[in-house]
Symmetry: C2
């Protein structure tokens, strides 16, 4: 069976293919659809769940394939949940720009508690069945950016129980314990019933 | 003394000039600065307060005038505070598009409690003094859009104690009780000491 991961984000696609490599599905992503990968789908949801659903449904309907999508973000306690659903867009520019922006906002802040959260939505365009899978990893925001593994906020996020950032720990460790991998493992377990 | 209202939003400028008409200041807005009014200042704050400060400081520094700016938004209880600081940008398009979007999100929702909130920041580029003034009006989201007075979410917001939206009640009523006017009245009182 063919299954579409509705993302063209290289960092995410790498993570997902690593986790799903041993599954009995023919996995593809938006990278394989030249006409879809540059489609600008606006994230108008008010929650991660709603945004994950919007993306999965949109690309499932376009391709007529069962599709899944994730919406993820960083939730910082001292900033009342910011950047949350606007993690990828509160500041234009690169991941590094956004990391600098967060570090600057927390410059004089001792409470550095944060969590990475993900909601994955699986949508079947044939029967409109929709399933959600959630993942979360608690941690804290580092004092400075370190490491170049992963993407997004990985260089400034230290998962609970570790002393290094996801950027330093590398993809292998990250895939074992990250928010996204936790949600994706639940999805994988669900799909393995087929 | 010259005072700059750091906004080029016609709806806001109209409201502000009405409220400040009787003040002993020479009031101008970004509408009067051809080279400034199309400057695209990104709202990277995590709160209304931070965004109001960023705007006031930016344009005060550019013009060397004492400047004030407001950041406002709609906070909907059933949507956990959404759209909040992204009220003006969570969906591209017109005010009417965003109003339709909110009504659609609340389609099957009985809890329609909402509040309009504003933070005004006054910034003096000569001594870097900064003052904040807050305003809030509680109310609820209407079942449908009504009225064409005001701008933004006015056609779908019914202030507490009324049965009509700000869009129907008109600028005179709105300026008496709105979030923005409450914050601006506090600023006005402060300025009148001069």
């Amino acid at each position: 069976m063919k299954l579409l991961f509705a993302s063209a984000n290289q960092g995410k696609v790498r993570e997902v293919f690593k986790i799903f490599g041993d599954l009995n599905f023919e996995l593809c992503s938006l990278v394989d659809f030249i006409d879809l990968k540059n489609l600008d789908l606006e994230e108008t949801g008010s929650t991660f769940k709603e945004n994950a659903f919007l993306k999965a449904k949109f690309f499932a309907d376009k391709t007529n394939l069962q599709a899944f999508s994730d919406d993820s973000g960083l939730v910082i306690e001292a900033l009342e949940g910011f950047p949350g659903i606007i993690s990828g867009r509160w500041l234009r520019g690169t991941d590094a720009d956004r990391n600098r922006g967060i570090l600057s906002k927390l410059k004089n802040e001792s409470n550095r508690a944060a969590a990475f959260v993900t909601t994955v939505c699986l949508y079947n365009p044939h029967d409109q069945q929709t399933h959600y899978f959630e993942g979360k990893v608690e941690g804290e925001i580092a004092m400075q950016s370190s490491g170049d593994a992963g993407f997004g906020y990985d260089p400034i996020f230290i998962p609970e129980g570790y002393k290094k950032t996801f950027g330093e720990l590398g993809l292998k460790v990250k895939n074992k314990l990250s928010h996204r991998s936790r949600a994706l493992e639940k999805l994988k377990k669900y799909l393995m019933r087929y």
